[in-house]
């Protein structure tokens, strides 16, 4: 079998849904939070509990199950630890825990986890979540000093701009104070705080940064993107995971939120367009042939949208692996006049990403053996 053929077959294999007990070594992310009953109104007939939850399940559903943010209100509370596998460049496993979890009831040693994401409701200024967070940090640092610790100060949409910053700062301060109280050496613990909300793309941005720390090949991907950007004079390019809208890597220029939002909206639109005009025609006679990859060159979906008028920009979209897409903003004159060259660059970029992806895949399969 020639190498390109083998590559194609590997490609097809991965496009299929994973089997139940897949033999992949997944990077584990632990998602923690609190759940408390703050207020009880007792009327003659019923006890109404105002349930303040931090929003872990909402985060997972919005990111990986495409749940519209408005619907998160109806989610049931999580009662036991649930594991969500997710495949992007590297295979992930995200553990969604009930609010009352402790280090002992988790059912797995903390050393197994690559990252811990702690979710705090931005309105929750009481001691309890902070105490719990610190407890986990201390326990995690003892068994695994290299663990990545992230704090999502969540539900930012509930507060006005000024209060938002103030509460964010307060929560940050409390956590740090408490950590230093435990022992002064914890002052050096690298702890990242993010302000997030499911109603905009701050969540995607923060979670992207969590994932970046788990991808060992990140510098190589970034380098590929840098080369792509300089060759096509693109001001910004992202490598996105198409379904979750997380970006796996981006070029060296700083991420500006407006551009990131636009790219996310663009992906959202393309994702919704796909099924809209899909033909439900009964399979025709020639389809069995096209199913064989050897007779047909692999097809990579692509799209572009041009924007004006300030400086004409074209947003391009090129799928590079079954789950990853290159989204770049290019000056429209470059895209229109030198489209062939841009696509040539995309081809080489794709080759590069594919190589890295194969290595990552081999490694995650091999590590278990």
């Amino acid at each position: 079998m020639s190498p390109p053929q083998r590559q194609q077959e590997a490609y097809l294999k991965l496009a299929k849904p994973q089997q139940k007990n897949d033999p992949l070594h997944r990077s584990k992310i632990l998602l923690l939070g609190t759940r408390r009953f703050i207020e009880r109104t007792i009327s003659s007939r019923a006890i109404i509990e105002h349930d303040y939850r931090s929003g872990k399940t909402s985060i997972l559903q919005v990111l990986f199950k495409n749940l519209p943010s408005k619907q998160t209100f109806y989610l049931e509370p999580t009662m036991r630890v649930t594991k969500h596998p997710y495949d992007t460049l590297i295979p992930l496993e995200i553990w969604d825990c009930p609010g009352n979890i402790t280090v002992d009831t988790l059912g797995a040693p903390l050393s197994e986890f690559a990252s811990i994401v702690f979710v705090i409701d931005i309105r929750d200024l009481y001691q309890q979540p902070v105490v719990k967070l610190v407890e986990f940090i201390v326990a995690a640092c003892q068994v695994n000093p290299n663990i990545n610790l992230e704090v999502f100060v969540h539900k930012a949409e509930k507060l006005q701009e000024d209060d938002k910053i103030e509460n964010f700062r307060q929560i940050h301060e409390r956590v740090m104070d408490r950590l230093v109280d435990e022992s002064p050496e914890y002052e050096q613990v690298p702890l990242n705080f993010h302000l997030t909300s499911v109603y905009d793309y701050t969540l995607q941005e923060a979670f992207s940064r969590v994932i970046h720390k788990l991808i060992d090949s990140l510098p190589y991907l970034e380098n590929l993107l840098n080369v792509f950007c300089s060759n096509t004079s693109s001001p910004k390019a992202f490598l996105f995971d198409t379904t979750s809208k997380l970006y796996v890597a981006t070029d060296a220029s700083p991420v500006d939120q407006a551009t990131h939002n636009l790219c996310c909206d663009y992906l959202q639109m393309l994702n919704s367009f796909g099924p809209l005009y899909k033909s439900n025609a009964p399979p025709q006679a020639d389809t069995p042939d096209s199913a064989k990859p050897s007779t047909k060159a692999p097809f990579y979906p692509s799209a572009s949208t041009s924007l004006s008028p300030s400086q004409p920009v074209t947003l391009t979209y090129h799928l590079v692996t079954p789950h990853l897409a290159l989204v770049a903003s290019l000056p429209t004159p470059v895209f229109e006049m030198r489209r062939g060259l841009v696509e040539w660059n995309v081809v080489w970029f794709r080759e590069g990403v594919r190589e890295i992806w194969e290595v990552e895949k081999e490694r995650s399969e091999g590590e278990l053996v």
């Binding site: 408005k70 407006a258 551009t259 939002n261 636009l262 909206d265 663009y266 639109m269 393309l270 919704s272 367009f273 796909g274 099924p275 809209l276 005009y277 899909k278 033909s279 439900n280 025609a281 009964p282 097809f299 979906p301 692509s302 799209a303 572009s304 949208t305 041009s306 924007l307 004006s308 008028p309 300030s310 004409p312 920009v313």
Partner: protein, 310 residues
């Protein structure tokens, strides 16, 4: 050419929210900031270039309604092209709403007999998803009965999904005199592109003006059985993307897609319309479609000119 559009209904039924979404490009989340409409707010909306919609957003509080029906009766109801009457699906005073509606219908038949009437059962998002069609059927029957002999069209709408665009597309379709002619030409154009479907949108509102598939559904579309909600969903999606572009002070210009399922190009057709060409044949390149659009532009400019003179 000017067409008068009356937007009426009880206070708080959602008239102004609807108008701001369709004609001012506001997202649904911002409609909660709108205040009550005092008396009549008149707007001129340029639709399809020379066709101007004269939108009368009539505040729905009882005092205003009474004055529309008495002292202002002739000003309000004369020369109307369309009356859109909005009912809140969860209205607590349906009897009163119906009474006002019947009075308005009387006024309309007195001053502008030929006006078409659209009844929108609005805020359908408040009804549970499973019960929606049953609730709508019941309301529609009730409204049909209240309208007597007057021919009306009842539509269920919500600003949170694509039904809003579906309703308004069918409303503006009655205002474009030669829509049928456009459909025929789009069909010819679709054949030239070997396209599955060609859809023409108004530029500012992205409402559907005409499509290549005729109402009795041509064979090719049936065999491919596309999503029945595709037109409204497209309007909704493009509108949402236009909004996110404008947040960056950019303006949406064109879109081409080569997806696994189909190839599509969305581009300017005439100076106030956009066209979406959807092709399922993987051999057809987007550049070829763009070329066809460029060649068809002149013809469609002419057609549109004709439509508006007649």
């Amino acid at each position: 050419m000017k067409k008068k559009v009356l937007l009426m209904g009880a206070s708080g039924s959602g008239k102004t929210s609807m108008r701001s979404m369709i004609f001012s490009n506001n997202p649904a989340s911002l409609t909660s900031r709108l205040g009550a409409t005092i008396d009549v707010e008149q707007n001129h909306v340029r639709f399809l270039g020379d066709l101007i919609l004269n939108l009368w957003d009539c505040g729905g509080q009882d005092a205003f309604m009474d004055s529309y029906l008495s002292t202002q009766r002739s000003t309000i109801f004369s020369h109307a092209g369309v009356m859109i009457y909005v009912f809140d699906v969860e209205s607590r005073e349906m009897a009163k709403d119906l009474e006002y509606y019947r009075d308005c219908l009387d006024g309309l038949s007195q001053f502008s007999k030929d006006a078409s009437v659209f009844l929108l059962v609005h805020k359908m998002d408040l009804v549970r998803e499973g019960e929606r069609s049953a609730v709508f059927q019941r309301k529609a029957a009730e409204l049909d009965k209240a309208s007597g002999d007057f021919p009306v069209k009842v539509l269920g709408t919500s600003i949170y999904d694509e039904t809003l665009y579906k309703a308004w597309s069918s409303i503006v379709n009655t205002l474009i005199p030669n829509a049928r002619n456009l459909n025929t030409h789009l069909r010819i154009f679709a054949e030239a592109c070997s396209a599955m479907e060609v859809i023409l949108f108004e530029r500012a509102t992205f409402l559907v003006i005409a499509t290549s598939s005729s109402s009795d559904a041509s064979d090719s579309v049936v065999t491919h059985s596309l999503d029945p909600k595709r037109y409204e969903r497209t309007s909704e999606l493009i509108k949402a993307f236009k909004q996110s572009c404008s947040r960056l002070r950019e303006e949406f210009h064109s879109l081409e897609m080569e997806l696994a399922e189909f190839t599509a190009v969305l581009d300017e057709m005439t100076k106030n319309t956009y066209v979406l060409v959807v092709v399922h044949n993987p051999v057809v390149e987007t550049a070829a479609i763009k070329m066809n659009i460029r060649m068809a532009r002149k013809k469609f400019e002419e057609l549109q000119g004709d439509t508006l003179i007649s």
